[in-house]
Symmetry: C2
C-alpha cells in the first residue's frame, strides 16, 4: 500500500532512510527549514543534494507528484521539501518561483508568530493575510507551491483559503475536538479546508494528542474516523511530525529562531522543556504498518485505508503542484 | 540555419528579444552575473523568470541542450545562463549543484582577477588552479556545468583542461594571432581546447579585434578560417559579446566589481573609458545573416557554416551539460 508521511523533520541519516524503507514509506514531506534565510536555505538544499548522492539507493527527490510513483517503482523513498515558515523568500516575491525550481513544493505562510504574510497561531491578535501575503498566495498558486497553514491562526487560515485559487493544506495538526491546543484546528477551519479540496495531515506529535505521549492507537484511529465524517475521506492523510534523534538545540531553534531573547517553550513549558516522549506505537518509520492495521481494525474499507495512508497526499500534490497555465 | 550566440549581455528588453528573432537567432548564452553574490544571483534569476513570463511568446529557458531544438520548433529564442565569474558559488562547493538546478549551464572560473578557483588574465602571476578550484572542476563535470576560461590566464586554462574530465570552453575571445590582447588566446591554449573537444566562441567585441571597431567582416571571416585550420571545424562557434544599450555603470561594474577603489579601465583606458563603438556589420542580433553570408562568401561549405553558426554550440552542450552517471 502506497504510504506517504506528510511531515517529518529528523536528524537525517542512512539509518532513518532505511527505517522508512522497512516501514514501507514511499514518500516523506521533509521539512527543509524553520527560520532560515534564503542563503541558509540553499545550504540546506546543498546538504540534501549530498544525501541524494550518498544514499541514492534509498532516497530520491520528488519535484512533481509523478516522482512519488517513480520512487515507489524504484524501491526508493521520495523526499519532497517543505518550509515551515516563509523566511526563505525573505521580502522577495520572485524567490517563490526560484525555490519552486529547487523543489520546494510546500511552504507555510507563518510559523507560530506573525510573518510578512500572515499571522501565526501563538499571536494574540490575527489581522489576517497581509498585502504581501495576498500576492505570495497568488504566486504560489501560479508556480505550483502548496500553501500550508499548519502553524497559522484561524482568521489567516480562513482568508488564505478564500484568496487561494488552489487547495490549501494543513500538513500536520489535529482537530481541536480531539485535543484543544493552539496548534490544533477548529471544525470551521477543517470544513473550509475540505470544501477547498485541501488536506489535513494527522499529527502524531504528543502535544497535539489527547493524553499526550500516552495517546492510544485506538483513540488516534477514532479521531481519524470522526474527522473523516467531518471532512470526507478524500481530505485526510498523515503528517506525523516525527522528529527523530534531534538534539534539544533544534527544538529551541524551532521555537525561538532568532526572534526571542527569552526562552520560548512553545507547546512545552519550563518544567517540560525538552522533546516529548514518543508514542509507543510510532517510534519511527518502521511502525507505519501498525497504523495501517489499526485503521483496518477500526473498520475502514481497504480503499479508504489506502487514501489515508498515502493516496490522498499524491492526489493533493497532483492538484496543487503542477504549474498553472 | 540554426543560430546560437555564445555570449551576450544586453540591457534585456522586448525590443532586443524581437531583434534576436528577426536575426534568426535560436539560442543565446546570456550572462547572468559578473561579480554578484549567491543572493544577488538569485535576484538576477528572479528577473529572468519575470522576463520568461512577460515575453513567453519570444523567449524560453534552456536547461538542457534539447531545449534549443524545442525553442526553435516553437519559434522562440532559447536563453541559457552563464556566470562570468565564480562569485555565485561563494566558498561553497554545494552551490555548484544548486545553481545547475536553477539552469546555470556555464561558469567562468575567474573574471580577469585571481579568484578562489583560478587566475584571471589580468594578473601578473598565474599560480594555476587552486585546491578549491580542483574540486569545483570535478563537481562542475559531475553536474553538467560547462567550464568557461574566457577571462582566465594561460596556465590556469591549460591546467583546467588537464583536470577536467569533460570539454572546456572559451565562450568569447579570439586568437592572439589575429589581435594581441590580454583577453585573446595563444595557439597553445586553442589547440588544447580543441584536443579536449571543447569550443572557442569568436568574440565581436571591438577590443578583441584587429583594427578594433573598424575590423572588417572580411578580416573577421579570415580569422575564422585560420582558426578552423588550427582547431578543426567542430571546435569553433560564435560568442559575440554583444552588450546592447548598457549604461557605462554596467561597464564599470564589469571592470571594477567591488574590488577596486581606483577606476580600472579593463581593456580601455582613461582616455577611452566608455563602451567601444559597435561594428558596422554587427549592430545587433538582426545582423547575424550578414555573418552567415560572409562565411559562405569566404568559401565555407554549407555544413561548415551551419557548424560555426550554431550546430557546434548545440553539440558542445550535449557533451558537457548532461549529468554524469
Amino acid at each position: 500500500m502506497l504510504t506517504v508521511d506528510g511531515l517529518q523533520y529528523s536528524n537525517w541519516s542512512r539509518e532513518i532512510f532505511e527505517q522508512m524503507r522497512e516501514g514501507g514509506v514511499d514518500a516523506v514531506h521533509a521539512t527543509l527549514v524553520y527560520h532560515e534565510t534564503l542563503r541558509e536555505t540553499l545550504t540546506r538544499i546543498g546538504e540534501w543534494n549530498r544525501r541524494f548522492e550518498a544514499h541514492g539507493d534509498l532516497i530520491m527527490p520528488v519535484h512533481a507528484p509523478g516522482d512519488i510513483e517513480r520512487a515507489r517503482e524504484a524501491g526508493k523513498v521520495g523526499i519532497f521539501f517543505g518550509a515551515q515558515n516563509c523566511s526563505p523568500i525573505e521580502d522577495d516575491i520572485d524567490m517563490v518561483a526560484v525555490l519552486r525550481q529547487l523543489g520546494l513544493l510546500i511552504m507555510q505562510l507563518t510559523y507560530n508568530n506573525q510573518s510578512l504574510l500572515a499571522c501565526g497561531c501563538y499571536e494574540s491578535e490575527d489581522s489576517g493575510i497581509t498585502r504581501f501575503g495576498r500576492q505570495v498566495i497568488r504566486e504560489m498558486n501560479r508556480v505550483g507551491m502548496v500553501i500550508d497553514m499548519s502553524h497559522s491562526s484561524e482568521r489567516s487560515t480562513l482568508e488564505a483559503i478564500e484568496i487561494s485559487e488552489r487547495p490549501v493544506i494543513i500538513s500536520h495538526a489535529n482537530p481541536s475536538f480531539f485535543h484543544d491546543a493552539k496548534r490544533n484546528k477548529s471544525d470551521k477551519v477543517l470544513k473550509a479546508i475540505a470544501e477547498n479540496d485541501g488536506l489535513l495531515g494527522f499529527s502524531a506529535y504528543p502535544f497535539h494528542l489527547k493524553n499526550g505521549p500516552d495517546c492510544t492507537l485506538e483513540d488516534y484511529c477514532d479521531m481519524i474516523a470522526r474527522t473523516v465524517d467531518l471532512m470526507g475521506i478524500e481530505h485526510v492523510g498523515l503528517g506525523t511530525d516525527l522528529c527523530q534523534n534531534q538534539p534539544t538545540s533544534v527544538l529551541e531553534w524551532m521555537r525561538n529562531g532568532r526572534w526571542s531573547k527569552e526562552m520560548d517553550y512553545g507547546e512545552g513549558s519550563a518544567n517540560n522543556a525538552g522533546w516529548p516522549k514518543p508514542l509507543a506505537w510510532l517510534r519511527d518509520s518502521r511502525d507505519f504498518p501498525n497504523l495501517m492495521e489499526a485503521l483496518r481494525a477500526k473498520g475502514f474499507a481497504e480503499q479508504d485505508v489506502a487514501r489515508i495512508m498515502g493516496r490522498n497526499w499524491v492526489e493533493l500534490l497532483e492538484r496543487t503542484t503542477t504549474p498553472m497555465e
